[in-house]
Symmetry: D2
Subunit: 342 residues, 4 copies
Amino acid sequence: MIIVMEQGATEEQVEQVIGKLDSLGFSVHRSTGVVHTVLGAVGPAELVDPNEFNVMEGVKQCRREMSPYKLSSRGFKPEGTVVRFKRERAGYVEIGGSEVVLMAGPSSVESEHQLTRTAELAARAGARFLRAGAHPSESALNGQRGLDAEGIKMVRRVADLFGLFVVAEISDPSRIPELEEQADLLQVSSANMQNHLLLHALGKCARPVLLKRGIAATVEELLVSADHVLAGGNYNVILCERGIRTFETFSRHTMDIAAIPAVHKLSHLPILADPSRATGRRDMAIPMARAAIAAGADGLLLEVHSDPDHAASEGAQAVRPEQFSELAAQLKLIAPAVGRSM
Amino acid sequence: MIIVMEQGATEEQVEQVIGKLDSLGFSVHRSTGVVHTVLGAVGPAELVDPNEFNVMEGVKQCRREMSPYKLSSRGFKPEGTVVRFKRERAGYVEIGGSEVVLMAGPSSVESEHQLTRTAELAARAGARFLRAGAHPSESALNGQRGLDAEGIKMVRRVADLFGLFVVAEISDPSRIPELEEQADLLQVSSANMQNHLLLHALGKCARPVLLKRGIAATVEELLVSADHVLAGGNYNVILCERGIRTFETFSRHTMDIAAIPAVHKLSHLPILADPSRATGRRDMAIPMARAAIAAGADGLLLEVHSDPDHAASEGAQAVRPEQFSELAAQLKLIAPAVGRSM
Amino acid sequence: MIIVMEQGATEEQVEQVIGKLDSLGFSVHRSTGVVHTVLGAVGPAELVDPNEFNVMEGVKQCRREMSPYKLSSRGFKPEGTVVRFKRERAGYVEIGGSEVVLMAGPSSVESEHQLTRTAELAARAGARFLRAGAHPSESALNGQRGLDAEGIKMVRRVADLFGLFVVAEISDPSRIPELEEQADLLQVSSANMQNHLLLHALGKCARPVLLKRGIAATVEELLVSADHVLAGGNYNVILCERGIRTFETFSRHTMDIAAIPAVHKLSHLPILADPSRATGRRDMAIPMARAAIAAGADGLLLEVHSDPDHAASEGAQAVRPEQFSELAAQLKLIAPAVGRSM
Amino acid sequence: MIIVMEQGATEEQVEQVIGKLDSLGFSVHRSTGVVHTVLGAVGPAELVDPNEFNVMEGVKQCRREMSPYKLSSRGFKPEGTVVRFKRERAGYVEIGGSEVVLMAGPSSVESEHQLTRTAELAARAGARFLRAGAHPSESALNGQRGLDAEGIKMVRRVADLFGLFVVAEISDPSRIPELEEQADLLQVSSANMQNHLLLHALGKCARPVLLKRGIAATVEELLVSADHVLAGGNYNVILCERGIRTFETFSRHTMDIAAIPAVHKLSHLPILADPSRATGRRDMAIPMARAAIAAGADGLLLEVHSDPDHAASEGAQAVRPEQFSELAAQLKLIAPAVGRSM
């Protein structure tokens, strides 16, 4: 931590700050400038709130000089993480490798028939994962976000028909064993990004984790959350950008495309983008899907529906079948520009 | 809902929009202007996403003309809600009445001794409620936010000693029976503001609910969340402003003091402010506490600690004992300016 | 405008609102629902502040139902504006047509030698416009933003050498005649986006205008500003996204890529992106440049420098020569995905 | 500046950073930790963009450890600045002293009659300054913000009738001599907060300056702007909070009341609040005025109108005469809570 004392801070004030640093286990390097005294403190900075010092007399400013994430930082593992998936019917796929990976499906499962139709078109257009959630009203009824036991089995069944992997939302740690069995990738919603209990449980889980950024979270805070999973020993973490809240209201959230190259600079973890949730409208989701891949995203999570005008939920953000095929064709043109294929 | 068609929208496009409105159960009033055709639609607007229309051809803009909250709106109950608390040792207090009410206590319970000292000074300075949470690391261990069964009993015991009411955080609906017994007011954290399952369970609960605004939530969204509790039949809901995320970083969040008069204009529900959580620093929490009362807040939630320099968590935001007495004295001067007492 | 009365609003309150609407020249359509009375008012909405009604007794909410821009709206001119440039040495180019157009150059002019080197490499990599500003300290000295008379002549001279068009910043309306002569496109900085005097003067100007979005402005407000230019009779307006201020601080601003498809949906005007200014760092500007084109931007404004490590200003955001060539090659791959060429 | 190298950064990368620091005139203190190498650099940090280092290979993060303002910092002048005003008819008043000072008047001057009526009631309720701007449409016509020569003379004349000081907006440096003669305090609008040319000219001006915070500016950036005035030798600078842009839209901007105690902590300069401009509605401006004083503001800028329902501009945000008297009475009760009088 770096503590800059106020111009004119008394020697006694400086001593009190040094004393506090000392008692917290920091070693202190003092540099007395013409105007300011600056204290450099090496020690357990991630355990100490800089405001402990900001409220002291004579302190102008205290900041951590290092980002409070470690395991997910690029320096910790310079070569970049590749998350590997293998399953008999679905084959093999890598996220973070040379291929851009699409995950597609309806916002919510309505019926096996509808899911089958959507899964078929997703697979035909090149998607490798089937995504499908519960209807919002069911979510409320079964007491948590995500599909119930029957729902997730149906998604698995349908995915197997078309050789797709399954990504499914998890919110209750007690359901990890069940979802580990049925799904290939467990997704943490943006609302749960800082649910430490869930993150810690997923650190012990056998499946890769897809961690979505909260709408009020910085990129750095997303990496801190990833550290909570990595610390448990599960190194297969994939991040996802899905929009932040700003003053602009034309689309639902402001998709922070710059988070994609920022994560690639700061971290070794792969990052996907979810333009459907970020924008809330299919006419915006499509160009933003292209933008995410052009910015270097390792893949996309996209809502597709065989008949969005009659979808049970979020129809406005679901891409139509023919739009999805067209988008996939566009992405095949863009991928080589970032040294990738699709 | 109001749908404005693009200048030059074709008759066919207008018809398609009208057809969709029709099929969703809206009755439509069409007004053909010189430049724009405007469709006014009366029907189940709260069940329909305006983006369903925004993505249609020829539509310039679709908006709900009415705020999607009802039960918490001022019009629904013009006279203002007063939430009443009664308990043998603590006596009687109203929130939303003529008195400004203070809720104070440490960020986390460290020991019965420390809690007792802090409760005593809070009571002496005029607080009516004792607030106390679990230490962050314990929260993680016991699997959820808030105090465990022992912790909440200890808080009750200490509160009784000094004639204080108890406010306690709830995050798991299954613990409602236990907390109903021990606490007088159940608090929903900002992270859980849109946890519908919890809100619905609290709608059936016998105790008043304190609902904190999420850091990325508008005032209107806070009122929508309140509606979820009110709809269950629990009309004793108190709101709380505790800061939103903006580009300003000097203090932790930007405390939106204007939310206080906004809630009083839009809703009949009382509103408190939590300057400790909003700012993260005691030197900011104190002036913001005064500002909240001057803006008309019905009370405050404040972190106070008998020895903040050695607090187990969040010491920087806890007000010192002597500061708390001084603040209480200042608030006694301010309250009459808004027609209140303390 | 739509005015929703509070539930329980008195007939007298409704009458007062109708009276006020009447006196302002609105014709009013009253709809009395079970719960709310809603007043639809057709009239000079763009001249009236909705808050005039929001502060009246019994009013729940007043909103304009129509966006307050007209001339720049897509409905006004469905086919899309193409801005054409022609000059002997530079040839012909269109913005808003089938080609993606690059504008490149240094942040500030340092010397004719440096400018010549940078212009040469920009031209060779495919740029069609030379952009170059004054050094910040000079800007302060000459009393305004942008190049002085000598500077702009030098940029013209160098641009002519390599067959480039010139884009130059304008902030003082009195300099329009001079810049009209030397430059092909006059740029309004984001800080001046709502400088109405400047916008009105540019409405009478013979050259196309490049209008940059303010860092705290919505897309709708950008279109309102464009209307101020269009209203003067100058229909050659090009918009530019260059980042908004949010809570994320990794790069300078948050580049709102979604503004690009939003403008294409709402307006007939072309839109460029300026990833250098938006991000402040070349390692972010490059992926964001690709993202902007993939999202459908009509071109880019990019800072390039022959030797950014020794640039007089903003070196960190200037792309190196070899990076610029590589980026141009990537953009050539991406352009066909959006039906364009480069 | 503090530069943290990536874990695993090579010695060569570290040397290149040190070399660059060296060439820019920094003296470097290297500290090689177990995980990270950290470089502390003392030198001309305010002249160097940290991104110059952030884009270098092997650099994890570069930050300035000191805020880039000096003259306006509390440490530079611990005792707090008091700005003094003296004029024959108006008497004597201090801003930053023990008294809370009110500045009131209409949004725009409509006629001498209307201004006189408003000034009279403002004076009677305790205001010490008359504020009055030009009508927006006139502003556009006379080529800049603020009153023309006739307008400002009229304001002076009316102010003199009631013993008021005059605050007037300045946007064009060439008008400083004229405004110095007629006005007592020159106001820089939020849109001009970073207009360096204007700030430098005001640094040489004989009158105190009122500097309003930009809607996308941090408190720290406001202090940097103040430094530009102070550096010219004019130490009589007063700051003003008037709202920032956030995702909340109930009132026009989000008034950042916490900026008031933040400025008092970081700086020796006084700070006012402008609740009319911040909120855009009188029903919000009144409680926010009380909040600002309770948070410690040195005074208020408030729009008052003798007949706001017929105001030429911004009537919705102008407080009615009787409301202004009532507010002044409330502020008289609040002031003693912060050790002040009114």
